[in-house]
């Protein structure tokens, strides 16, 4: 008779879809039964997945230990209670970094974000982290990455939940960001076995973990399709509070947020506003360090350079010169897409 923990660690390396695995385990009563069925080839699985299930638990534990990866299950110290309470809670998580404690705020959004959204997400990440809450996101391109980046300027350790294996940085450019996050006392989680490639189907289940551990979910920019809205929908089912930053009507990267607001998400306008809302909702964070109050970074909505020039006066030449002066003193920045961002 094998130990249940050993069964789980072997099952975790099969890399099945979390929903399927959960149903199988719930249906047959225990992880051991499912494992047996895999061993006998009773489940429709690729051959390599079947073989992965056969590797003994002790061997798995050894290689995880060597790679600095923890394996946590509900009830463990490192496994967030909030997540364990959900009906769709993962059966296990691979973990790197420090054991997570505290209160998390999810900051999510589209990968195809605008420079404006990126800046906003960075600002959000920074104030949330400085206030002492952990920023949780998916380490994806666009908004996710920006939120993580901003959070590194704060003090609370961040959390990244990956759709790939825990030792696979995706996108590759975010490797250093992920490593910085771990170094700054953050946590990285994944449900996929080490080495798993970032396949599309792994991301929606990943999103339920992000919203699952969060007390509040902030959507910065989201299109009508895509993961950010999926996260928001799951968060709603999980009973999490949802914040969204409105954007121009008809701007594709903002449609999702505007729809969320119509459906009852709470609109937030800037980093300071977000902080106020979070304070009301979550109370003062327990681990806040108190110093260096946030609000230093406060981006206004960006606008195309020509429109901004029109505001600087009727004489275009003088307006261009004035814009140059503003850039030189650092009160205004122009991003690669030609948008003007003002800094207060």
């Amino acid at each position: 008779m094998s130990r249940p923990a050993d069964d789980l660690i072997r099952l975790a390396h099969v890399g099945m879809h979390p929903d399927r695995l959960r149903k199988l385990v719930a249906g047959s009563g225990s992880a051991g039964t499912v494992l047996r069925r895999i061993e006998r080839g009773r489940l429709d699985l690729p051959e390599e997945a079947r073989r992965a299930a056969l590797v003994p638990a002790s061997e798995r534990r050894g290689s995880l230990c060597e790679a600095g990866i923890d394996f946590v299950v509900p009830g463990d110290v490192g496994f967030p209670e909030r997540l364990a309470d959900l009906p769709e809670a993962p059966l296990f998580l691979f973990q790197r970094g420090r054991s997570f404690r505290g209160v998390a705020v999810a900051i999510v959004g589209t990968r195809a974000c605008t420079g404006y959204g990126r800046r906003l997400a960075e600002g959000y990440g920074e104030v949330v982290s400085k206030a002492g809450w952990s920023v949780v996101s998916g380490l994806a391109k666009g908004i996710d990455g920006a939120a993580h980046k901003g959070s590194l300027r704060g003090y609370a350790g961040g959390v990244a939940v990956l759709g790939s294996g825990i030792d696979v940085w995706y996108p590759r450019q975010h490797r250093s960001l992920g490593e910085d996050l771990l170094e700054a006392g953050g946590t990285v989680w994944s449900e996929a076995p080490p080495g798993a490639r970032p396949l599309g189907w792994r991301f929606p289940p990943r999103n339920r973990i992000i919203s699952g551990i969060a007390h509040a979910v902030v959507v910065v920019e989201a299109g009508v399709k895509g993961g950010a809205l999926v996260t928001a929908r799951i968060a709603l089912e999980q009973g999490r509070d949802i914040f969204a930053t409105p954007g121009d009507v008809g701007r594709p990267a903002s449609i999702g947020c505007n729809l969320l607001i119509r459906d009852g998400a709470f609109p937030v306008f800037d980093a300071e506003d977000l902080l106020e809302c979070l304070r009301l909702l979550l109370g003062e964070p327990t681990t806040a360090s108190g110093e260096d109050s946030p609000g230093a970074l406060n981006p206004d909505p960006g606008e195309p350079i020509d429109k901004f020039l029109a505001k600087l006066g009727d004489d275009p030449v003088a307006a261009i010169a004035e814009l140059g002066r503003l850039v030189a003193i650092g009160s205004v920045e122009i991003d690669g897409d030609g948008f003007v961002i003002t800094r207060k």
């Binding site: 350079i305 029109a310 275009p316 261009i320 850039v327």
Partner: protein
Amino acid sequence: MFASTNSVALVGVEARAVSVEAHVGGGEKGRLSLVGLPDTAVREAKDRVMAAMAVSGYRFPPRAVTVNLAPADLPKSGSAYDLPIALALLAAAGEIPDGACNVVALGELALDGALRPARGGLGAAIVAAEMGIPCLLPPEAAAEASLVSAADVQVVRSLAAAISTALGESTFRAPPPRKIHIPERYDMAEVRGQPLAKRALEVAAAGGHHMFMSGPPGSGKTMLARCLPGVLPDLDERTALEVAQVWSSAGKTRRCLTRPPMRSPHHTATTAAVVGGGSGVPVPGEVSMAHRGVLFLDELGEFRPQLLDALRQPLEESEVTIARKGVAVTFPAAIQLLAATNPCPCGFHGHFRKGCDCSERMIQRYRRRLSGPLMDRFDIRIRVEQVDPDALIGPPEEPSRNVAERVAGAYDLQRARGRRNRDLGRSDLDGLEFAPGAQKMIEGALRHGAMTGRGFDRVRRLARTVADLDGADVVRETHAGQALILRGHHEPSR
């Protein structure tokens, strides 16, 4: 039994005198041998010359004839040697006096004795002026040749006319080039809105700066580009002649000789078509046709990468060298490069209203095609947005005429200093005089990390040009401020 006359061969854009010699002697009747490195078209001259002579009432000598084109090591090509061959041959046969050979002649003969257009008219005039003898050219070639004021260019339409002109029996001197004013097809008054892009174009024109525009389709990048030649000053006599020589060596004539040319090759163009080359005798490419003018590359990201790489030599050295067996030919290519591109394959990346369908990878691949060394050449980089519909129905804006006046003023200042601002190197820039406020401003931007060392040079170059547009000796704050905006903010590939 022997006679010789003169013609020209082009080596690159340089015209070299060619001596056309004919000898009529004993031997086989009716044999004509042509020596002196002629190509096929030159060899065929034999039949055309014989027919034209017969139609014009002259007898082909009933003896062996040898025609030599000297110097023999210079490759000669084309049909333009028909006329000098006919003249030398007739003189050698005693059909016409030797005096008829004391000319520089060029032109293809039709079988009925009429003269057809030939390339190299300008070169013929230059050689004729040096030799101090008249120059006989068909009308088309005579038009460009008239730029050489020291030459006695005679327009001839047939072999018979050429003979009588060469003998001084008749004369039809080519009229001097008319200062025709061809109105530019594009005027900046028609470009609504776009204050930044227009200012950028003016500064680019004034300092000769290479300019890069990125923006969604329909934002008016091409329209803006077409306005650039219209605000550039006229070419002076020397540069007009340079340009005409290049065009002449390509066998093309310009409608208006004194305006700077603009060439806009399509992005499917081959490297040879743009940089120059071709089989046999090299011909100038678009980059040389745009000498002293503008080379506009629309959809820069779509051009072949090796073509863009090949542009680096002309951009650095203002000339292109094409090596062929035996000869390396150098064509001038002092160009102002103007480029436009979409920010991504679909064109709408960063658009404030429409969405972009491209994946991050597609965008990166698209932008990687624009190599760093090439992008470094662009002093001015701006983003062009689609214009607000409100601006489209506004009053007409400042016409090109006014802009051109300011540009001409800035040109004069640079000419007095002896160098275009585009060509200012780091040591020149270090010697520029900046007002304390302007200096502080540029240093401030450096400190804020808003630019790199290379950006620093670009800003100083541009600031000098903006000051020139103001007629200011010292670069002031307003000039530095504009320069900071015009040089662009982020590198196009992030």
